[in-house]
Amino acid sequence: MRLLALTRDPLDEPGLAAAVARPSSGAVVTFVGRVRDHAPGHAVEYLEYEAYPEMVDAVFGEIADETRERFAIDEVGIHHRCGRLAVGEASVVIAVAAAHRGPAFEACRYVIEQIKLRAPIWKKEVGPQGAVWVDTRP
């Protein structure tokens, strides 16, 4: 299984967690981002994720390299989905394996924060009030 991927297919969380673990890994921390049934002020029926795929590949590679340098981890995997996602489906899975739990938690959190800051991905929320491209700027 590729450790870094942008895909239109449903994400395989246990597969990615298994792919990062080594015999030396005492801890695996997994983050799954899911489509919620609500956003501030309105219901959500589904999301449409759109990406700049060539740049996503580059950014995921940079984030993974930085994460391996900054934290004492064995391996990190990032899978992000694009296309139409229903409520409850996973949009992103991040799995980090490490000898010890501290770096596993910290690295997993680092990766999701960096994805939100840097990955060229957008989403349109579709609900009863219509469709809106999400803008999370304060």
Binding site: Y52, A58, A119, W122, V134, D135, T136
Partner: protein, 81 residues
């Protein structure tokens, strides 16, 4: 010079296309492009303050000078994860 322009999200929808080769004057900087393409893609100029810019798949400062053959992406506010 020719620069490949990539559009996303609301701008892609408004433009009806995600990929466009623009003929731009030499010396054009990334942040000039929304204004220069406004006639072709209405709304780009008004959205310019919210864009980040990527040249050849790397984010760059807004005043980066473009070269012939570059790929310039106009990135609206990101919402991955």
């Amino acid at each position: 010079m020719h620069v490949r322009i990539r559009l996303f999200a609301a701008h892609r929808e408004a433009a009806g296309q995600d990929d466009y080769v623009a003929d731009l004057p030499a010396g054009t900087r990334a942040h000039d492009v929304p204004r220069l393409l406004e006639a072709r893609f209405p709304g780009l100029s008004a959205a310019a303050p919210s864009f980040a810019y990527a040249v050849n798949r790397k984010q760059v400062p807004a005043d980066t000078e473009l070269r012939d053959g570059d790929e310039l992406a106009l990135l609206p506010p990101l919402a991955g994860g």
